[in-house]
């Protein structure tokens, strides 16, 4: 039964990866990275039990705690760098058009 749920998580990883590669805006890629991160936490939790070594949950715990620092850094990055802000909408217009 662990295989069923790992299969669902792996398929979701593919979908997130396709979104990350397609874009179109940079934020879609950040969203995909974030989704990928939470899916990795779930996959590791499930696989730890599949292998019968639940003491390896530390890895999932580490990701759950510090994965969102990257997204906060992205917010910080776009807020501080005027140059990149000017570039951001240009790339997003592609999506709307």
């Amino acid at each position: 039964m662990y295989y069923v749920v790992s299969l669902a998580i792996l398929l979701t990883m593919i979908l997130a990866l396709v979104r990350a590669l397609l874009g179109p805006s940079v934020y879609d890629r950040v969203l995909a990275v974030n989704l990928f991160g939470t899916k990795t936490v779930l996959l590791v939790s499930v696989v730890a039990f599949l292998y019968g070594r639940p003491d390896f949950l530390d890895l999932a715990l580490a990701y759950a705690l510090i994965n969102f620092i990257g997204v906060l850094a992205v917010l910080n990055f776009f807020q501080n760098s005027e140059r990149n802000m000017a570039k951001g909408p240009a790339e997003n217009r592609k999506e709307a058009g």
């Binding site: 749920v5 669902a8 969203l31 995909a32 939470t38 994965n67 969102f68």
Partner: protein
């Protein structure tokens, strides 16, 4: 007793897997960034809770169960924060919701 626990966690796994997969499809198929974010939040809440819940049922009362509860709590707190930061960064740099989404029609 064991068969009941297995049954409960199996149902939770199926439910969680379905939520995760639907969210993933949504992230791929939704027309613009904000609707995609909405789809991603589905996997972050229901998917996470159900899958981790199913694993907790399997773990029983042990250190692993406490760690799993902690993982679920941290994911529930950090997920929305990350979504907030992302939506804020996108809005700041001028990404607007797709006009067609506002009319309630699919753009793709």
């Amino acid at each position: 007793m064991q068969i009941w626990l297995d049954g409960i966690s199996f149902v939770m796994f199926i439910g969680g897997g379905a939520f995760v997969l639907i969210g993933g499809v949504g992230v791929l198929r939704m027309p613009d960034l904000y609707t995609r974010m909405h789809a991603a939040s589905l996997t972050d809440t229901m998917g996470t809770l159900l899958i981790l819940g199913g694993v907790i049922v399997q773990a029983g009362f042990s250190l692993a169960a406490i760690k799993l509860v902690a993982i679920a709590l941290f994911l529930l707190v950090t997920g929305p924060t990350a979504t907030y930061a992302l939506a804020n960064a996108a809005l700041l740099s001028g990404v607007r919701p797709d006009a067609q989404t506002l009319d309630g029609e699919s753009a793709s």
